[in-house]
Each structure stands twice: as structure tokens, then as C-alpha cells.
């Protein structure tokens, strides 16, 4: 399992499936600081063609630089016709539905499951 974390967040990528879980508060200071996370996500687009699942249910906070990072991944996925991406979100975090709606405007085929 690959993990990226600091004192406020933890991101875990499963070894046997293209699934990444996000926890905590992501408030990194800009594109450069988000690069390792974006690279982890982008690498999954090059893997076997299976649905890529990003589980945000325990991601309590995401700053606008983090929104930019997710949008860059979603646009890269959109531009590969075969890519299949699903976000799992939670109703307990009021920002999930709003921010993910913006990502769906970028990629209409994006699946968002609000739980």
C-alpha cells in the first residue's frame, strides 16, 4: 500500500485495485506541493483499464489548490476516452456535493456516489 501523509492528512493507495482513500484536511500551499499526489493519481490512468475509485468520505477539508489538483486529474481522465473514474463522497461533508458537481461539469461521465 502506498501512503502519502503529513500531520493533517493521509492518502492511501491500495495495491490490488485502483482505489485511493483520502482522510483529514488537505491544505497544501500550491501546485508543487500537490505534485506527488497528482502523480499517484495520474499513474493509475496508465494501469489496466478498470474503474478508478477515489474515496473522499473522510476528507473533511480541501483548499482551492487541492480542487485544482483533482480537476487536473479529471481532465486528464476525460481526455482518455476509455478512462472510468468514480468519486465516493459523503453527505456529512457539505462541500463534497458542491465541489464534485464542478468536476462533473468538466467530465460529464464522472461518477459521483454520495453516501
Amino acid at each position: 500500500m502506498k501512503t502519502i501523509k503529513d500531520e493533517s492528512f493521509e492518502i492511501q493507495q491500495q495495491e490490488d485495485a485502483p482505489r485511493v482513500c483520502f482522510r483529514g484536511a488537505l491544505r497544501l500551499s500550491g501546485a508543487a506541493d500537490y505534485t506527488p499526489i497528482l502523480e499517484m493519481l495520474m499513474a493509475m490512468l496508465d494501469g489496466p483499464q478498470r474503474p478508478i475509485v477515489l474515496d473522499l468520505r473522510d476528507l473533511e477539508f480541501l483548499n482551492s489548490s487541492g480542487i485544482t489538483m483533482f480537476s487536473r486529474f479529471v481532465i486528464a481522465a476525460r481526455d482518455r476516452e476509455e478512462a472510468n473514474v468514480e468519486f465516493i463522497a459523503s453527505e456529512k461533508n457539505p462541500w463534497h456535493a458542491r465541489s464534485l458537481k464542478n468536476l462533473q461539469r468538466l467530465m460529464p461521465a464522472l461518477v459521483v456516489r454520495l453516501m
Binding site: S29, F61, N63, S64, T68, S71, A76, P94, S99
Partner: protein
């Protein structure tokens, strides 16, 4: 002092408000070590608002409180991040964030010092925001950011407008105290009625 205002800079008509001021000296610590402080300050403002809200508005249920806490935390964090990022280096003008709570609205404003060229760039961006639809601009900006490593995402203000339905206003002050430096204040106002409605 001369002040130029753009957007919605109406002050609250109410006389009695709760308010909170936080001020940071930009010379006392480098930006990177300040960054953690942005999150702590923003979380504090979100918690502060929900502590005082029951006296200022109609009773709110748990999800209403959570929606308001998150909106205040997000907006305070974005305004503070911008103020820290774009503050003119080496200038001993405090970076400030001010939160004001009245019966009808929550106002959050952040201020920092910039040189005239930065002020001009920022004013151009503000004028674009005022002219165009925030949702369209947001999607366009996300597309632009995808094609290059963004030096600045420019998204904070657009998400505050589009995702949180805040009213934004700006003040550009040039005063004699710091020649060559302008004080830029960005103000976001959330209507409590709208927030409660959105959470319902």
C-alpha cells in the same frame, strides 16, 4: 489616504456585531512556517461562528451548523492563503483577517500589502470576476490550469462566489504611511438566511 472600492462593499447596517480580529506580522516567520497557521486560524473562526450563532439567528440543526462552520472555515482559509501568498515580501505591514457576525450576515475580510503592479494585476482579475458569470469562469479556469502547472490557481475567489454564494468586495488603499505599497482588502459576506436555506 485614497481608497478605491470594487464589488459589494456595503457595511452592515446593524450597530451591534460580534467581531474578531487576527493580525500577523509577516516578518516574524517565513511563509512556509506560517502556512499551518492559516488552517488553525480558519478552523478557529469556523468554530467561533458556530459557538455564537444561536444568539444571532434562528436555531439551527446540526447540519446547518456544520454547513456554516465549513463555509466560514473555507472562506477564511482561502482569503488568508491569498493574503500570505501575495503580501509584498519584507514589508512590515500586518496581514490581517477580520470576522464580523451580525443577525443577518457573516462578514470575513483579509488584508495585506502589495506593490502597485501586483495591485493592478489583482484589480484586472477582480474586474473580470465582476463582469462574467462565476460558474463559467470557474470551469474555464480549471481547464486553463489543467494545461500547465499553475503558478497561482486563481480559484479561491471563484469557488467562494460560485460554491458558497458569497458577495465579494474589494478595497485598494494607498496611504502615506508606506510609500509604494497598497493595502488590499478582500471581503466576503455570507447571508445567514441563504446559508440556512442551503443546508435545509
Amino acid at each position: 489616504m485614497t481608497t478605491e472600492t470594487l464589488g459589494d462593499c456595503r457595511k452592515s447596517s446593524e450597530e451591534h456585531c460580534e467581531y474578531l480580529n487576527l493580525s500577523f506580522s509577516p516578518l516574524s516567520a517565513p511563509l512556509q512556517s506560517r502556512w499551518r497557521n492559516n488552517g488553525l486560524s480558519a478552523d478557529f473562526l469556523g468554530d467561533y461562528v458556530t459557538t455564537f450563532l444561536p444568539t444571532a439567528s434562528e436555531p439551527l440543526d446540526g447540519s446547518g451548523q456544520q454547513a456554516i462552520r465549513h463555509a466560514v472555515t473555507y472562506i477564511a482559509n482561502e482569503l488568508l492563503e491569498n493574503a500570505m501568498k501575495y503580501h509584498e515580501r519584507g514589508v512590515d505591514i500586518p496581514i490581517g483577517i477580520h470576522l464580523e457576525l451580525s443577525k443577518e450576515q457573516i462578514s470575513i475580510r483579509a488584508s495585506n500589502g502589495v506593490n502597485p503592479e501586483q495591485a493592478r494585476h489583482y484589480r484586472d482579475f477582480v474586474e473580470q470576476i465582476l463582469k462574467e458569470d462565476a460558474g463559467e469562469l470557474l470551469v474555464r479556469q480549471l481547464e486553463i490550469n489543467s494545461g500547465q502547472v499553475p503558478e497561482k490557481s486563481c480559484l479561491g475567489l471563484l469557488t467562494i462566489l460560485n460554491d458558497y454564494s458569497a458577495r465579494l468586495g474589494w478595497e485598494f488603499d494607498s496611504g502615506p504611511e508606506s510609500p509604494g505599497i497598497m493595502i488590499v482588502t478582500t471581503r466576503a459576506v455570507l447571508s445567514l438566511k441563504d446559508l440556512a436555506g442551503a443546508a435545509a
